[in-house]
Amino acid sequence: MWSVRLQFLFWRLIKSVVVLLAVVVLNFTVLRLAPGDPALVLAGEQGAADAAFVDQIRADFGLDRSIPEQLGIYIRSLATFDLGLSFREQRPISQIIGERLPATLLLTLTALAVSLLIGIPLGALAARRPHRALDVALTTISTAFFAMPLFWTGLLAIILFSVWLNWLPSYGMVTVGIPAGGLAELLDVLWHLTLPALTLALFYVAIYLRVTRAAVIEVIGSDFVRTARATGLPAARIWRQHILRNALLPVITFASLQAGHLIGGSIIVETVFAWPGIGRLAFDALLQRDYNLLLSIFFASSVIVMVFNLLADSLYAFVDPRIDAGPAPA
């Protein structure tokens, strides 16, 4: 049984690496097709498009070589985990991403956890008596948050909680001047995290609420639940072991899909709340044609997507034993 599972994971891993390589090649090619010459942008930052200067920049970053040649160099350096220098900042990219990634993961993972913790119970609650007052109220409110543009929810939250009530900070990740390290800083970060994480979570709550609700309604109506009830099992046990366990499968699917967007999905929230994350970094890098940096961010986010898909597949295998039968060798 275990060997089958391991074999399944092994092949999934191989597949992931192949997909990753394809993504890298695609990213690289698409990016080079965009108009706008990074050397010119950099030269513009120095106040001139002096020809010799532009040539120098091109040579520095290998932009004077052919695109296939550049791609080859890029893949070779990726294989040795060398992400290179940022065109614009002249600093190692691993360092730049390392500064920003934790902030984004903190924000998005918190939002994901909160949205699951709120969305699943509320969805189950709504499904108990479909189309009754509670269900209608819950689905309407959550849909409203889903439909509201994120920047708008964020700004309203800032006006209410920061400007009027003065409870929570409106921007940033830490209070300037607070001593680094220790409990004070941790609490300060959590204090700053509240608004952006809740804004992002409210958006996702609607998804989990509706997915859970639909799945629960479907499962409640199935034969095995009726049988379980008929055999006189306690209601709580039926919910826990028969309804929720089955209803959770689509939720896991959605969560893993969303987890793939952990890096890119929070650009707007990071912008509104001045959260020093990687989404904003990607956006700035795109505007500046900082190819090296942008490609590395794409790469990092592709890796995260792969990792979460792998995790989701493994989770399936535990929650739903039937998955084992699927990838069995022919």
Binding site: L40, A49, A51, L155, G177, R289
Partner: protein
């Protein structure tokens, strides 16, 4: 004022100031000033990057030999005094003694020599261009630097403020050959009143008081924080909730500026742009139909209501302008200008004359318009220009470009009309020439200034002569003729003098003391606390 010569000793004035500052020291000293930097720059080394955000922060860390008053008279900084020989050929700067770099090493003429001979020409095209006017740069002793020019160049004195003539620490660059990528560029060691304490990328940049600053008792402030807040609404909220004390132009939308300025305890100033002299440009591609015809360019000038742009789009911040010279620029001569009032009928008549008759739907010509990809305001201006041109039969399609694409298309003549704004700088020979001098071929090898591809032999001749004319009167005559020609030729449209307001809490004092405005070093800024 600038041509000719002056030898000034500021010793007496400085002594008086020193007394005054000891008295005021107790109340003025201390406190934290919270500012916004937008967008976050790639570096705060103003020696290698002099765009707005890098200049704003770098000007507190680094210094130039001189600075400029709002009337653009030089004021001492790292140079205590200076002299220009009567023939306009020799510039001698006497450097301040007892100045140290942030790492404790002494500042001497070797640093100035290194900056002007090696560093600046290698990293900054404008510096290379202007410094090529010098026949020799020498340091006779540790506290003197002398520039001998090939020919008089009255604009020369203008390149010595912090953003144009950043003084860099020579001792950190020993053995370095590529100054643009040198690791020392990331150390941010200057002589300025503030030192770098921490740069938390994506969050803030923290500068602290330089206790060893040469101007004793200054700076008054202990800390400067430059907050990185990428959303305009969030920036405006940060100001409203008192988290930041100052908003610079571009930090928030213009309509927000008026609202915030009306709040209690908030002040607004338009001062501090005397040196940079920003003007809104509408580049017309002179190399392509239909704007290769002067009548069509004039028609565009008549078709656009520039008052509307100032009042409605820029929220009242802006001043009318009819020619290439900013209102505080020397040699401005409005009497010779051809003026283009808002008159769509005249525009249509000129288009008729140029042979652009209305076709189906009243369309005479179809052109492509590049907006300036710097946010909403510029998008709205592009939309207005599209409508105004449409009203006279020129159908304009707004292209979708980001900064990189916009820059590339402008510098390669791949556009019809392009929005822009330009710091025209105080001396025409430095800030204006590049926009009008003939460019052969594409813009490679130039500073990319004449993106409209304008070419007029007489203008070329005048601009080169005037740049090297030491006699103020003759120089004025040349520039009058220049203004006469270009306002007639309309190589581009000067939409308005940009007014960039600074909004601040009234507890902040001396914020825009000099002609450099918020790009000054802030040694004199103090707050009530």
């Amino acid at each position: 004022m600038f041509p000719g010569h002056w030898t000034k000793s500021f010793a007496f004035g400085l002594a008086a100031l020193a007394c005054a500052s000891t008295f005021a020291y107790a109340q003025k000293s201390g406190g934290t000033l919270n500012l916004i930097v937008q967008p976050e720059p790639p570096t705060i080394n103003v020696g290698v990057n002099r765009l707005g955000p890098a200049s704003f922060i770098g000007s507190k860390i680094y210094e130039g030999l001189i600075s400029f008053t709002p009337k653009l008279e030089p004021r001492p900084e790292l140079a205590e005094s200076w002299a220009i020989s009567p023939d306009g050929l020799t510039y001698t700067f006497n450097l301040r003694r007892g100045v140290t770099w942030h790492d404790g090493k002494p500042f001497t003429s070797a640093d100035a020599l290194f900056s002007f001979q090696k560093f600046l020409p290698a990293v900054f095209f404008r510096a290379k261009l202007v410094l090529s006017e010098a026949e020799s740069i020498t340091a006779p002793d540790d506290y003197t630097i002398v520039f001998k020019l090939k020919a008089p160049f009255p604009g020369f004195i203008q390149i010595f403020e912090v953003t144009g003539g950043t003084i860099m620490p020579a001792h950190l660059y020993e053995g370095v050959t590529d100054y643009r990528t040198a690791p020392a560029n990331q150390q941010f060691i200057g002589t300025g009143p503030f030192k770098v304490a921490e740069w938390k990328r994506g969050s803030y940049i923290h500068l602290v008081k330089n206790d060893a600053y040469w101007d004793k008792g200054k700076p008054y402030l202990n800390d400067l924080y430059f907050h990185v807040i990428p959303d305009a609404n969030s920036r405006s909220i940060a100001f409203e909730t008192g988290k930041v004390d100052v908003l610079r132009a571009g930090d928030v939308e213009n309509f927000d500026i008026s609202r915030l300025a009306n709040e209690k305890g908030v002040e607004l100033t338009e001062a501090g742009w005397e040196f940079l002299q920003p003007i809104g440009y509408l580049h017309l591609n002179n190399r392509r139909k239909p704007f290769d015809d002067v009548r069509v360019r004039q028609a565009v000038a008549y078709a656009i209501d520039r008052k509307f742009i100032i009042e409605t789009i820029f929220g009242g911040f802006g001043r009318e302008i009819n020619g290439p010279f900013y209102s505080t620029k020397l040699y401005r001569d409005t009497s010779v200008e051809t003026k283009y009032e808002f008159n769509p009928e005249k525009a249509k008549k000129l288009l008729d004359e140029a042979g652009l008759k209305p076709g189906p739907g009243g369309v005479r010509a179809e052109i492509e318009l590049l907006p300036l990809p710097y946010g909403e305001l510029w998008q709205r201006q592009a939309e207005y220009v599209r409508d105004a041109l449409g009203a006279v039969g020129i159908k304009a399609n707004i292209a979708s470009v980001d900064v990189a694409g916009w820059f590339q298309r402008l510098t390669t003549f791949n556009y019809d009309i392009g929005h822009n704004f330009v710091y025209t700088l105080s001396d025409p020979a430095i800030g204006i020439n590049q926009t009008y001098l003939t460019v052969k071929g594409d813009n490679a090898g130039t500073s990319g200034g004449n993106v409209q591809g304008y070419s007029n032999a007489e203008v070329d001749d005048i601009l080169i002569k005037a740049a090297h004319q030491n006699d103020a009167e003759s120089r004025a005559k040349l520039y009058s003729r220049f203004q006469e020609i270009v306002t007639r030729d309309v190589p581009l449209i000067w939409t308005h003098e940009m007014v960039f307001p600074t909004v601040f809490r009234n507890k902040v004092h001396n914020l825009t003391l000099t002609g450099l405005g918020t790009n000054e070093n802030f040694a004199d800024v103090w707050i009530d606390h």
